[in-house]
Amino acid sequence: MRLIRPMLFGLAALLTAFAAAAVQPDEMLKDPAQESRARALSAEIRCLVCQNQSIDDSDASLARDLRLLVRDQISQGRSDGEIRDFLVERYGAFVLLDPPFRGSTLVLWLGPAIVLLAGAAGLAIYFRSRRRSAADAVALSDDERARLERLLDDRDRRA
């Protein structure tokens, strides 16, 4: 359903799914603890044929297949990590909405921290250089001081 926003902005061809069906009661596991694990896990699994939806909120038939697959694996006693690995093996890392941390996603995960540190370093340099130039600005030479006094005198006389 959230596909509608791109559509609004002119990507009409993309629209495939419409109704907000998503998880159906008949798919759910009997054990509430297992079911809530399934819900949490499927919120982080991408519906591969949709633009930007998790299988938990897509009503595409592939999403339903994946939801059933996830639940099947959970009832077989697999851990969340095992199920994720299984899906990645089958569909590639694209299936995870939470991108794994590895070589190709280094910039993605470390980028924000690098920007923040670079910005903070920039700020530190800024304050240091400002302080130095402030110190420079305070120290007038004797020559300048004399000139300043002359100017001020001038102004006082005129006023």
Partner: protein, 662 residues
């Protein structure tokens, strides 16, 4: 005929824009008053021409002229009038026309209300504005002509997507665009200032109202889109970190930073070069957003590579505008002399911290949005960046921002007294801890982040009031005098108070709705009851109904609380006859404590229906907070110091002890 006139007006507008780009700029460097003045008339003429083209397209939609291809593809003769009109911008070509219309509108406003600007600055601003306009008019005429004809014309149109036939969405694009495109003014001012080689407090005072105006619109536009998604998409989500949302959120983040740094330029004559850069970046991100949603690159990198027409054109505009302005910045910015000095612990320092965090947040969203595209284009494979990424990066970044937000306004300019400020925030800190404790106790076992967010919201809100109390010296002076001071407070100070208060509401609402929401997804038969969050919902039944252009399943739930009837919720599921699309019409009961949200789904074989009931605590606070934020922006805009067209010298009218404002 009228469509052709519209097309012709658009071509003329391009010619006028080209003239407006060249004449005033040349005039400003030759000090030729006549050439400079030509910029103002050209800006008004350009607006009139684009408005004429827009009116012609609107006419085609309203009269259902299906010989115009765009109308045939996006409208239907039986559609209500309001959606015929909103259909004008509910498609690529029309929305680009709206884009240039708003751009020209802002240009004309500068021409009409910029009488107090120095003539050379005004001429250069108008010239830069026209350069952007010329680029996008050429884009429309070359790749996206909205007036293209269709022969033979079809008997009726393809209709607008029913999900878009909603009042909330009819007005979302114009408001959003007014914000998005409105930042062009800050950009034009920044580039003009770089050409002039001069940035001073007066410059900042001229830029701020325009930035505030654009920011207020963008805030309202984003909030409107989020609200629509919440009630229309049928599962109560309000923000998805979708690339299209991010495209509007990035300029908002940097634009917010710009608002804050422009204060420092205005009050203290410092941070000029940085403010210029922010102004350039804000609009650059608007342009990048336009590229992202207009080029089709989000759909598929491969589709973009094989059919690049529009995308490459916008990309070229992007490179020229962003590259050109940044090159100019690199060349001229070092000549801008820094003004007032300040210690790291000062109002200026706090505003810089705000800038650092907001800029990092924008960079985070930028990386998350573009990384998958870049990686795939570079052959590095496909990767998805979804909400978990932003929860792990963006959300923690907000913590220092929130912490500093209450402290910053209490620090003095130049050199602040941190322990004094913290002393005045003792009560806010105590309230925040109390809120945290209360929220944890109430939601034991739920994500602790929710309780932390409530503490943060309380910290900001009480901090805002502490700052206000200090400003009007509440308790220090007799109440009457305090109230008099409150009345005399500059409106921009009230603006800050409201905008910060609004953010507290948004934080509380977003955290409550995202982390504490409860749901029941079950199959129900008439007569059955479901309990959720203290409410009891009796499913009375469902029936088929016929709407004007859809059929629907209409369910009725009697809601009660402690056996007392509260309300009836009547959700619908509609199937539109022409296109076969289905939409959900959620039934929502809104209270300050939370929304009860009911959706009815498909009929089951056994006569039951799939029913989804959600309880979203505090969710309405998101939009109430956004509304208060926008109100703050408008309040600040009405400050006489900033009022568009108000002479700058009026500042002297203010009481000398009027507190500094942002």
């Amino acid at each position: 005929m009228i469509a052709e006139l519209g097309h012709f007006a658009l071509i003329l507008a391009l010619c006028v824009a080209v003239a407006q780009a060249i004449l005033p700029l040349a005039g400003a460097s030759r000090r030729d008053a006549g050439w400079m003045a030509a910029g103002s008339s050209a800006a008004v003429v350009q607006l009139l021409l684009i408005a004429a083209a827009f009116a012609a397209l609107t006419h085609a939609f309203v009269t259902s002229d299906f010989s115009v291809k765009l109308v045939a593809e996006n409208s239907h003769s039986l559609k209500p009038l309001i959606y015929k009109i909103s259909g004008v911008w509910g498609n690529h070509e029309g929305s680009m026309l709206l884009w240039v219309l708003i751009l020209a509108l802002f240009g004309a406003l500068i021409a009409l209300f910029g009488g107090n600007l120095p003539p050379t600055l005004r001429a250069r601003v108008l010239s830069v504005q026209a350069m952007i306009g010329a680029g996008f008019l050429a884009f429309i005429l070359a790749t996206s002509n909205p007036f293209a004809r269709l022969f033979p014309p079809p008997a009726d149109g393809n209709d607008l997507n029913p999900l878009l036939q909603d009042p909330g969405l009819a007005f979302h694009p114009p408001v959003l665009y007014a914000g998005y495109v409105g930042f062009s003014i800050a950009f034009s001012f920044a580039v003009a200032a770089l050409i002039e080689g001069r940035v001073d407090a007066a410059w900042a005072r001229w830029v701020r109202p325009w930035t505030l105006l654009a920011w207020s619109f963008l805030t309202a536009g984003i909030a409107l889109g989020s609200w629509w998604a919440y009630y229309e998409l049928g599962w109560g989500g309000f923000w998805y970190w979708d690339p299209v949302e991010n495209a509007s959120f990035m300029p908002w983040l940097v634009g917010t930073a710009l608002l804050h740094s422009a204060v420092v330029v205005e009050r203290r004559d410092a941070l000029k070069s940085w403010t210029i850069l922010l102004a350039i970046l804000t609009f650059s991100l608007s342009l990048i957003g336009t590229f992202l949603v207009r080029s089709g690159v989000l759909t598929s990198v491969h589709a973009f590579a094989t059919d690049p027409g529009r995308g490459v054109f916008i990309l070229a505009l992007l490179v020229i505008a962003i590259g050109g302005s940044l090159a100019l910045y690199a060349w001229r910015a070092p000549q801008l002399k820094g003004g007032g000095l300040f210690a790291p612990l000062s109002r200026e320092g706090a505003l810089l911290l705000n800038n650092l965090i907001l800029a990092t947040a924008a960079a985070t969203v930028f990386i998350g949005t573009l990384y998958p595209l870049v990686l795939e284009a570079a052959g590095g494979g496909k990767v998805s960046v979804g909400p978990p990424y932003y929860n792990a990066t963006f959300v923690p970044l907000m913590a220092p921002l929130v912490a500093a937000m209450a402290v910053g306004p209490m620090l003095a300019w130049k050199r602040g007294d941190l322990s004094g400020a913290l002393g005045r925030l003792k009560f806010a800190a105590a309230t925040a801890l109390a809120a945290l404790a209360a929220a944890s106790a109430l939601t034991w076992g739920r994500p602790v982040l929710g309780a932390i967010a409530m503490g943060a919201a309380a910290w900001i809100a009480v901090g805002v009031f502490a700052e206000l109390a200090g400003r009007i010296r509440l308790g220090d002076l007799p109440l009457g005098q305090s109230l008099a001071r409150a009345r005399g407070m500059p409106r921009s100070a009230w603006g800050m108070t409201l905008a910060h208060l609004g953010l507290a509401g948004i934080i509380a609402g977003a955290a409550g709705a995202a982390l504490w929401s409860e749901e029941k997804i079950i199959a129900m038969r008439p007569g059955q009851t479901v309990d959720l969050a203290g409410y009891s919902l009796l499913f009375e039944g469902a029936e088929s109904r016929n709407g004007p252009n859809y059929t629907s399943v209409h369910g009725v739930f009697a809601v009660s609380r402690n056996r007392t009837p509260v309300t009836k919720l009547e959700p619908e599921k509609r199937r539109y006859v022409v296109g076969g699309q289905e939409t959900t019409e959620a039934a929502i009961r809104t209270t300050a404590a939370g929304d009860l949200y009911a959706v009815i789904g498909d009929a089951q074989k056994d006569g039951g229906y799939v029913v989804r009931i959600y309880y979203k605590p505090l969710v309405a606070w998101i939009w109430a907070g956004a509304a208060v934020m926008v109100l703050g922006g408008l309040m600040s805009l009405s400050d006489r110091r900033l009022r568009i067209g108000a002479p700058a010298r009026r500042e002297r009218d203010l009481a000398p002890d009027a507190a500094p404002a942002e």
